[in-house]
């Protein structure tokens, strides 16, 4: 691919698979598999119970498998908020702070979780049980305020009920 071409045009062409002749063969080989990339990233990130991030070795393996330069794959992974290249807790708590959730009490849950877990957004508890993330919308505004713990949407629970759930999860063997 012409290195001197305009960046925008280059990116556009590449993204559409409309690459130069020299590159088209490689695109052909990888194009069927590459649409499964995000799916694979999800699978590897959650390969075993309690594993919630993608390790450097795994990333290198995926890069090889898909024929994507590691630097490019790194850029792809970092673009999406659900993937983490850093160790996270065995359970990932996603607190929704969209407008609907905010006006229905998301900050009350946030303050409570911060106190209970002793961490702020983007952090992991010392025992490695929980990571706390604040997200922009879980798409469940009819039950605001919402949180997600791993793959489960949690709505309409009191702070005490959330505590009980977290206590149970923290004790679980992995």
């Amino acid at each position: 691919m012409a290195k001197n071409g305009s960046r925008k045009a280059e990116k556009t062409d590449e993204a559409r698979g409309n690459t130069s002749a020299a590159n088209s063969e490689a695109t052909e080989t990888h194009r069927k598999s590459r649409d499964t990339l995000l799916f694979t990233l999800h699978e590897i990130q959650n390969r075993s119970p309690g594993k919630t991030w993608i390790t450097k070795e795994e990333l290198a393996g995926i890069a090889q498998e898909y024929g994507i330069p590691l630097a490019e794959l790194d850029g792809i992974v970092s673009f999406y908020t659900m993937f983490s290249r850093e160790r996270r807790g065995r359970h990932v708590i996603r607190l929704c702070d969209s407008l609907s959730c905010r006006i229905c009490g998301s900050l009350d849950i946030y303050r409570h979780l911060r106190k209970k877990l002793g961490i702020s957004r983007g952090m992991t508890t010392g025992d490695g049980a929980f990571s706390l993330e604040v997200v922009n919308c879980l798409g469940a505004c009819s039950t605001s305020p919402n949180i997600m713990i791993d793959d489960h949407l949690i709505s309409g629970l009191s702070l005490e009920e959330i505590d009980a759930m977290l206590d149970r999860l923290a004790k679980e063997e992995v």
Partner: protein, 419 residues
């Protein structure tokens, strides 16, 4: 089924994955009708119905289908990357009436000559990914998808893909980029995806709700659909209603229904209404005058907004608009894809100022600086994301600027009084 119910009528099935009960309710009869017509006749029927895309932009669906040209290898993508805050209607459709979406996709694929379909589901809906896969295999088994659908020469397969968490990917070109395993950057149009989409092949991208209304047009006819709602925006619409309202949820009403009627249908406002955001976070925040607005694409444009995804977030008088400003600006800063400078930097500046204001360290000059910033972003941002911030920001400053000024002054006074 009543004329004023389509999706919500199908959504009452006890087990949404029970294909027999879906068929018993009239499911897949639209596909039967379509296969008895030529593809061009199906497109013409959809064009005459006046159906407009329900993802937000409101582009006429029939025109989009008609504009597919070029290569014979074609793709159909169902956009289920519902990321617009305040919007949860596509989740509702996929949870409660998945076969309706599959039927709409099969009809769309038949009309446009697509052989392969993808449903791109946002990563935050993992249960939908699982249930859709199950729905697809049941539909294949029953002959509504796969090879030689209903004994015809038409074959069409659907695969489910899962997103990784990104608002911008809701844009159709960004979604295709993401589907091809890239960063979800939006692209310049033209070329439109209908000419060059997935892997350079012609691709139709339709929203979940749009596709779910297609079977209605085939079974009831274009005229029946066109007779509902507003002349320029016909048909029914799903509205996502949340915030300070008695019964938040998804409501199906004709286009042109007023905000007041919807609020009443949802049990009324909790407390005294102060503001309502219409169309998602990228939509304006209106004051109580919005109660009389008819909700359709044309009327909302006239009101200085957009119908968008059909989300309504009601706010009562307990809400501090400085906090609404902060939530909204932080959203844009976090979701900017970073591809272009005006948006990447502008959203961060706006979020910084909004955060200062909400946390009591705001300055009055921030309000002018915010207007200057958005002026540059509207003119210079690469894609509609960076431009759309003008809607919520300018509406907040125009309608609730006095409150924000008063809030800033009050905080300044408190600081001085403390000295």
């Amino acid at each position: 089924m009543s004329n004023m119910q389509h999706i919500t009528g199908f959504a009452t099935l006890e087990n949404p994955l029970d294909i027999e009960s879906f068929i018993a309710k009239g499911g897949f009869s639209g596909l039967h009708r379509a296969l008895a017509m030529t593809p061009l006749e199906v497109i013409s029927e959809v064009k005459r119905s006046g159906l407009r895309g329900r993802g937000g932009a409101g582009f006429p669906t029939g025109l989009k289908w008609e504009s597919v040209s070029g290569d014979d290898e074609r793709y159909l993508v169902c956009n289920a990357d519902e990321g617009e805050p305040g919007t949860f209607k596509d989740r509702f459709v996929l949870e409660h009436a998945p076969f309706l979406v599959l039927e709409g996709m099969a009809i769309a694929a038949y009309a446009t000559g697509a052989q392969t379909g993808y449903i791109y589901v946002r990563g935050e809906y993992p249960h939908v990914v699982a249930s859709l896969s199950s729905a697809i295999s049941r539909a294949v088994k029953a002959g509504y998808l796969g090879a030689h659908i209903l004994g015809s020469n038409f074959s069409f397969n659907i695969e489910v893909r899962k997103g990784g968490g990104s608002y911008v990917v809701g844009d159709e070109t960004a979604l295709l980029n993401s589907l091809m395993g890239n960063r979800g950057y939006p692209l310049l149009k033209p070329p439109f995806p209908t000419e060059k989409g997935l892997w350079g092949k012609p691709t139709i991208v339709n929203n979940v709700e749009t596709l779910a209304y297609v079977p209605y047009i085939l079974t009831q006819g274009a005229e029946a659909f066109a007779s509902i709602g507003s002349p320029d925006s016909p048909g029914l619409k799903l509205f996502s209603i949340s915030g300070h309202i008695a019964h938040p949820g998804v409501y199906e009403f004709p286009m042109g229904t007023t905000v007041r009627e919807l609020a009443a249908a949802a049990g009324g406002i909790l407390g005294n209404l102060k503001a309502v955001q219409i169309g998602g976070t990228a939509g304006p925040i209106f004051d109580t005058a919005a109660l009389d607005y008819p909700l359709d694409f044309v009327s909302m444009r006239k009101a200085g907004g957009a119908l968008g995804s059909g989300a309504l977030v009601f706010m009562n008088t307990t809400v501090n608009m400085a906090h609404v400003l902060e939530v909204t600006m932080r959203f844009f800063a976090e979701e900017s894809c970073g591809q272009c400078f005006p948006c990447r930097y502008g959203t961060r500046q706006l979020a910084f100022m909004a955060n200062k204001i909400a946390s009591g360290q705001g300055r009055l000059e921030y309000l002018d600086l915010m207007r200057d910033t958005i002026h540059v972003m509207v003119g210079a941002s690469f894609c509609p994301f960076g431009q759309s911030i003008a809607f919520p920001l300018e509406s907040l400053l125009d309608r609730f600027g006095d409150e924000i000024v008063s809030f800033i002054k009050q905080q300044e006074f408190l600081k001085e009084a403390a000295v």
